[in-house]
C-alpha cells in the first residue's frame, strides 16, 4: 500500500475525449483498481481546464489531503501549466502533478471505443505509478532580455518593430535587401480601398528608420541563433555595402554617375533597370546605396571608380575595401516576418510566360501600373507604347493545383479584381477575368467585386487551359488567345486579347526550410512556418520565444499581415513584462558517493556542463550549464547520475504502469512469470 494520496482527474473535453473513451468507466476503474498505488480520489469532469474543473482539484487537495495529482486530458504541451498552477494555488508543489494525454494520443487517433478506453486506463496507470516518484521542485528563474529581434522588414516586420519600439523596448530589425518595405513597396494600389501603397507605407518606413529604439540592419542576414527564450544570442552578418553609412548623405550622385545599367529582377520584377550602385527605389530606407559587386566595373575589372570620384562627401563615402561584419546581439524574443516568394510562372509553359511578350506576372503588372515604375504608370504592351484593347487576367496560377501548390493563395482574387479595375481605368480595354471560384471574403471585399462588375469586366468561370499565339480562326492573328472552357455554358471558348496578366501564387521563401531550422521551428508540408495553434495561437510557434507574422506563416493580405505583426509584438511585450522566465527544473546531478570516476559520461555533454575533479576522482555537473537532456543519466554505468523529473525510478515506474494490461485488457505480463 502506497503512502501517497493521489487524485486522478479524467477530462471529457466536451465530447472530444468522451465520445471515444468511456471516461466515467475510466474514473471508476482508477479509484477501484489503483488504490494500491495510492489513488484515493478519481473523478471525471466535462472540462477539467475550466475554472470549475480546476477548483475541483484544488478542493480535493485541501479537503482530502492529496499529495499527488494525475490529470488525464489533453497534451501537457497545452495545459500542463494550467493544472500545475491549480495545484500551486491549493498549496501543493506544482511538480507533483502529472498529465496523461488521452486526447491527442487516444481519443483523436483511435476509433475503437473499447480498445481506446483500455489504452486510456493503461496510460493513467503509467501516470499514477510515475507520479509517486515525483519530488517537489522549484522552477529555475532566468531574467528575460528586453531586446527583440525582428527578421524581415516588410510591412509585417515594420509593424511589429514599431509596436515594440513605441512601448519603449529595443528592437533589432534585420532586412536582407538594401531597403526595408518588402513587397508592399512594389505595389501601386492596395485593395479594396485603392489607396496608394507608397503613401501609406513610406511614413511607416521612415518611422522605423528613425526610431530611437530600432537598430535597423538592412543588407544583413541572421547567421546563427544560440540560447533559448529570454536569452538568445543572435549572430548577424552585415553585408558590405561598400558605402560608409557614417558619412554618406544619400545624395545619390554616385548612382547618377554610375555607367552600368543592370536589369532589376528584384524590385522592378525584371521590367526596369537600375545601376550597379543603387538603392531599390527613391524612398528607400535607409537611404544609403549598395554596390552590386557582380556588375560593378571596378569589382569586375579593377577600373572605373566613377562613384568614388564623384562622391561629394568628406571623407569619401565609397569604400571598396569594406568587409562583411559579424555582429552578436543578445535578445529575449524573436519575430520572424520573412514574407513570400512569387511563383515562377515559367513553370507553366502553356501560359506562355517568357515566350509570349505580352504575358505579364502580377508583380510585373504592379510595376507597370506604378507611377514610379518603368512606364510611369502607363499600362502598355511590352513594346512600351501600345495600349492594350483587350486584357485577360488569369486567377489561380500555380495555386489550387496539385501539380504546383495545392493551397489557395488567398490574395489573388482580390488582386485580380484590382487589376481589372486598374486596366479599365488606365486603358478602357475589355477585361476578362478567368477564375475557378471568386473568393472575396472579408470587409468591403465583395463590395469591390460589385464595383468591378459594374465597370463591365467580363467574368468567365473556368480555369484557363492555355494561352497561345497559334491563331486558328479569323480575328486571332497577331493576338494572344486565351483558351478556356466556360463552365457555365459548358463550351470551349477562345478569347483573343492583347495582354494577359497571371495572378501567380504566393510561395514560401525558397530558403524557408533552412531559416526554420536556424530558428528551431517547423515548416508545414507546403513550406509555411507552423504556428503553435492554428486558431488560438496563430503567431507563436512550438519554440518558446520565437513568433511568426505575415506571409511567412501562410498567404495573406495586407490587413491580416499588419494584424499579425501587431499581434506578435503584443505577445513579445507580454513576455518582456514578465521580467523573468520560469524554466522547467529538469537538470542532472551526480551522487558523488556512487560515482566511480569512470568518466564515461564526461564526453556526453555538448554543453560542457560535466566536469571531472581529478583530485577527488569524481564527476560533477554544473546546473547552470546543464540543459536537462538526460543523456549522461542514461550513460552512467553505476547509476550515479540522476535527473530531476526524469529519474530512472520515474521512467521505470511509468513503464510498469503502461504495461499493466494488454491491448484488449488482458494482463500483458501473464505470459511472463516473474
Amino acid at each position: 500500500m502506497s503512502e501517497e494520496r493521489i487524485g486522478v482527474y479524467v477530462c471529457h473535453c466536451g465530447s472530444n475525449i468522451a465520445s471515444v473513451v468511456d471516461v466515467e468507466d475510466v474514473a471508476v476503474w482508477a479509484k477501484d483498481n489503483l488504490a494500491d498505488q495510492g489513488v484515493v480520489v478519481a473523478r471525471d469532469y466535462k472540462f477539467m481546464c475550466s475554472s470549475l474543473g480546476q477548483e475541483l482539484i484544488q478542493d480535493d487537495i485541501k479537503e482530502q489531503g492529496l499529495d499527488r495529482v494525475v490529470v488525464a486530458a489533453c497534451s501537457p504541451h497545452l495545459h500542463e501549466r494550467t493544472f500545475r498552477n491549480a495545484c500551486d494555488r491549493a498549496g501543493l508543489n506544482p511538480f507533483l502533478c502529472e498529465m496523461v494525454s488521452v486526447r491527442e494520443q487516444v481519443s483523436w487517433v483511435h476509433t475503437d471505443k473499447e480498445l481506446a478506453t483500455q489504452k486510456a486506463k493503461a496510460m493513467i496507470a503509467g501516470g499514477v505509478e510515475r507520479v509517486v516518484y515525483h519530488e517537489p521542485l522549484e522552477p529555475l528563474r532566468v531574467p528575460i532580455n528586453e531586446a527583440t529581434l525582428v527578421v524581415g522588414a516588410g510591412i509585417a516586420g515594420i509593424q511589429a518593430a514599431l509596436e515594440i519600439a513605441d512601448s519603449g523596448f529595443p528592437v533589432y530589425l534585420v532586412e536582407r535587401e538594401p531597403s526595408i518595405g518588402g513587397h508592399m513597396a512594389q505595389f501601386d494600389k492596395t485593395f479594396p480601398t485603392l489607396d496608394c501603397s507608397a503613401c501609406i507605407l513610406t511614413p511607416k518606413m521612415v518611422d522605423a528608420g528613425q526610431h530611437p529604439n530600432i537598430t535597423l540592419l538592412s543588407w544583413s542576414e541572421v547567421e546563427r541563433v544560440d540560447g533559448y527564450v529570454g536569452n538568445f544570442t543572435v549572430t548577424i552578418r552585415k553585408k558590405a555595402r561598400y558605402v560608409n553609412e557614417d558619412v554618406c548623405t544619400g545624395c545619390g550622385i554616385c548612382i547618377e554617375k554610375c555607367p552600368v545599367n543592370v536589369l532589376d529582377t528584384n524590385f522592378e520584377a525584371g521590367l526596369g533597370y537600375r545601376k550597379a550602385v543603387y538603392r531599390p527605389f527613391p524612398q528607400a530606407v535607409p537611404k544609403y546605396p549598395v554596390i552590386d559587386t557582380e556588375n560593378c566595373t571596378y569589382f569586375k575589372r579593377g577600373k572605373c571608380k566613377a562613384c568614388q570620384i564623384f562622391c561629394p562627401t568628406q571623407p569619401n563615402s565609397i569604400d571598396f575595401e569594406q568587409q562583411d561584419q559579424l555582429l552578436q546581439v543578445p535578445v529575449g524574443n524573436i519575430i520572424l516576418a520573412t514574407g513570400y516568394d512569387l511563383f515562377d510562372a515559367r513553370r507553366i509553359p502553356q501560359y506562355g510566360y517568357g515566350r509570349l511578350a505580352n504575358v505579364y506576372t502580377s508583380l510585373e503588372f504592379e510595376r507597370l501600373c506604378n507611377a514610379a515604375g518603368p512606364t510611369n504608370g502607363d499600362v502598355v504592351l511590352r513594346d512600351g507604347v501600345t495600349k492594350p484593347e483587350a486584357v485577360g487576367i488569369i486567377h489561380c496560377v500555380g495555386s489550387r493545383d496539385r501539380n504546383y501548390n495545392n493551397y489557395c493563395s488567398v490574395i489573388c482574387c482580390m488582386q485580380s479584381l484590382k487589376f481589372a479595375h486598374l486596366v479599365k481605368e488606365r486603358t478602357g480595354a475589355e477585361v476578362y477575368n478567368f477564375y475557378i471560384d471568386m473568393r472575396t471574403a472579408y470587409k468591403d471585399y465583395d463590395e469591390f467585386y460589385q464595383k468591378v462588375l459594374e465597370e463591365g469586366t467580363h467574368f468567365v468561370r473556368g480555369r484557363v487551359a492555355e494561352v497561345t499565339d497559334a491563331a486558328r480562326q479569323p480575328g486571332e492573328d497577331g493576338k494572344i488567345i486565351v483558351q478556356v472552357e466556360d463552365t457555365f455554358i459548358g463550351k470551349q471558348r477562345r478569347i483573343p486579347v492583347d495582354m494577359v496578366i497571371l495572378s501567380s501564387a504566393l510561395e514560401p521563401r525558397a530558403d524557408s526550410d533552412e531559416v526554420a531550422h536556424k530558428f528551431g521551428i517547423a515548416c508545414s508540408a507546403n513550406g509555411w512556418f507552423i504556428e503553435k495553434h492554428p486558431k488560438l495561437d496563430p503567431v507563436a510557434t512550438m519554440t518558446e520565444g520565437i513568433y511568426i507574422a505575415g506571409c511567412a506563416q501562410g498567404p495573406k493580405d495586407i490587413p491580416s499581415t499588419v494584424a499579425q505583426g501587431a499581434a506578435a509584438a503584443a505577445r513579445v511585450l507580454g513576455r518582456i513584462q514578465q521580467k523573468e522566465l520560469a524554466l522547467e527544473p529538469i537538470r542532472a546531478s551526480v551522487i558523488a558517493e556512487r560515482c566511480s570516476g569512470c568518466r564515461i559520461c564526461n564526453n556526453m555533454c555538448p554543453f560542457n556542463a560535466i566536469l571531472f575533479h581529478e583530485d577527488r576522482m569524481v564527476t560533477e555537473i554544473n546546473p547552470a550549464l546543464c540543459q536537462g537532456c538526460g543523456t549522461c543519466v542514461a550513460a552512467c554505468p553505476s547509476g550515479a547520475i540522476t535527473g530531476t523529473q526524469f529519474s530512472n525510478e520515474q521512467v521505470l515506474a511509468q513503464i510498469e504502469g503502461l504495461l499493466m494490461f494488454g491491448v484488449n485488457g488482458n494482463l500483458a505480463n501473464e505470459l511472463v512469470p516473474a
Binding site: 536589369l263 529582377t265 525584371g270 521590367l271 526596369g272 533597370y273 515559367r346 507553366i348 509553359p349 502553356q350 510566360y353 517568357g354 515566350r355 511578350a357 506576372t361 510585373e364 507597370l368 518603368p374 512606364t375 502598355v380 511590352r382 513594346d383 512600351g384 507604347v385 497561345t468 499565339d469 497559334a470 491563331a471 486558328r472
Partner: protein, 321 residues
C-alpha cells in the same frame, strides 16, 4: 549500345520509311537493335476501349517476350512509335502500381506459358534513347551534310511526353529535345507552339470533320512560322498530317504543301546517306522541293533586332545564353 527493338505494326508497312531510316542511322550511332521475337500489336488506342484485361494481357505479352529475350538482364526496349511507347510503358507502370492487376495479367500470360515481372523491362522511345544515350555530340559527330537553310518545325505529338509514366525526359507542354536534335543537324528550327498538340489520332476514322480541323491547326501553325518541313517521331502523326493534307486543303480551301518527314530521315540526310534507303519517296507530299532548299553554306547569323528605346525587357528564360 544494345537494345531490344519493338517496331510495332505501323513500321512494318505504312511507316516503312521510319523503319528503314531508323535502322540506317542506328549503325553509325552505335545503336544495335535486336527485334523482339514474334511481337504482337501493342493495342494502339483502341484495344483498351473494348476490353481492359485483354488490352493489358496483349501489351504484357510483348513485355514478357522482351524479358525472356534479355535472359533476366533487365531489358531496355526501344519503340519508335509513340503509341507503342505509351502502351508498353503504361502497361508496365500500372502493373507495378496495381498488384492485383499484375496478378490477373500473369494468370492470363500463364495460359500461353509466359510470365512477366512488373518493372523488369524499361520501354523507351527512340528519340529519348537517341538524345540520352548517343547525345547531341554523338549525333553531331556523324553530320556530314548539314541541313543548312532548311526550316524545320519539330512536331512531338502527344504520347512521347504525356503523361510520362517513366521518369520524364522532356517537358510535357513545351518539349525541346527534338528542337535541339534538329539544330545539331544544322537545320533552322522554327518556333512551333503547337508542337505537342494532337494530330487527330483515330478521329480521322470517327469524325473526319473533327480530324481535319485538328490537322489544319497544326499545318497552319507550321506554315505561319514559315516551316519548310514538319519532322515527326510517330507513324500516326506522320500519316494524319501527310495523307490527309490534301483533304485539309480541299476542306479549308488552303494550299499547304508541307512534307512530313521522320526525324530519322532528316538525320540520315545529314549523315549523307542514300535518300532511297531512308524511305524518301513514300511520302504523299513530295519532299523534294523542300529538300532542294538545303544549302551548302551555313546561313548568316540573323541579326538581333535592337529593341526600341521604349520597349520593356522580356523575362529572362533559363536557357538563354
Amino acid at each position: 549500345m544494345k537494345y531490344t527493338y519493338y517496331p510495332g505494326c505501323s513500321l512494318e508497312r505504312n511507316a516503312g520509311a521510319y523503319h528503314s531510316s531508323t535502322l540506317a542511322v542506328a549503325g553509325p550511332l552505335g545503336m544495335e537493335f535486336q527485334e523482339v521475337d514474334d511481337w504482337n500489336c501493342c493495342g494502339a488506342t483502341e484495344f483498351i476501349a473494348v476490353d481492359k484485361m485483354q488490352a493489358y494481357a496483349l501489351a504484357a505479352r510483348n513485355l514478357s517476350l522482351a524479358e525472356k529475350q534479355s535472359n533476366g538482364n533487365g531489358a531496355t526496349m526501344v519503340a519508335p512509335c509513340s503509341a507503342c511507347f505509351l502502351n508498353l510503358s503504361k502497361c508496365d507502370a500500372y502493373l507495378v502500381k496495381d498488384a492485383p492487376l499484375a496478378e490477373k495479367v500473369n494468370r492470363a500470360l500463364a495460359a500461353g506459358g509466359l510470365h512477366y515481372t512488373p518493372g523488369s523491362v524499361r520501354t523507351r522511345h527512340l528519340l529519348e534513347a537517341m538524345v540520352t544515350d548517343v547525345g547531341f555530340e554523338g549525333v553531331a559527330a556523324q553530320v556530314k551534310r548539314p541541313l543548312y537553310n532548311l526550316k524545320v518545325a519539330p512536331y512531338y505529338g502527344c504520347l512521347i511526353v504525356r503523361p510520362g509514366f517513366l521518369d520524364k525526359f522532356d517537358d510535357e507542354e513545351y518539349p525541346t529535345s527534338l528542337d535541339k536534335l534538329m539544330r545539331t543537324l544544322g537545320a533552322n528550327v522554327v518556333d512551333f507552339p503547337m508542337k505537342a498538340h494532337c494530330c487527330g489520332g483515330h478521329m480521322t476514322q470517327i469524325s473526319e470533320e473533327v480530324a481535319l480541323g485538328l490537322i489544319y491547326r497544326l499545318l497552319k501553325n507550321a506554315a505561319d512560322y514559315g516551316a519548310d518541313v514538319i519532322t515527326t517521331i510517330c507513324p500516326m502523326c506522320q500519316l494524319n498530317l501527310d495523307a490527309y493534307q490534301e483533304h485539309v486543303n480541299r476542306y479549308f480551301g488552303t494550299h499547304f504543301k508541307i512534307p512530313i518527314l521522320y526525324f530519322t530521315q532528316l538525320m540520315g540526310l545529314a549523315f549523307d546517306m542514300d535518300p532511297l534507303a531512308l524511305g524518301f519517296g513514300k511520302e504523299f507530299i513530295d519532299a523534294a522541293p523542300a529538300l532542294a532548299k538545303i544549302g551548302v553554306e551555313p546561313p548568316p547569323k540573323p541579326k538581333r533586332e535592337r529593341p526600341s528605346k521604349e520597349a520593356l525587357p522580356m523575362p529572362m528564360m533559363p536557357e538563354e545564353e
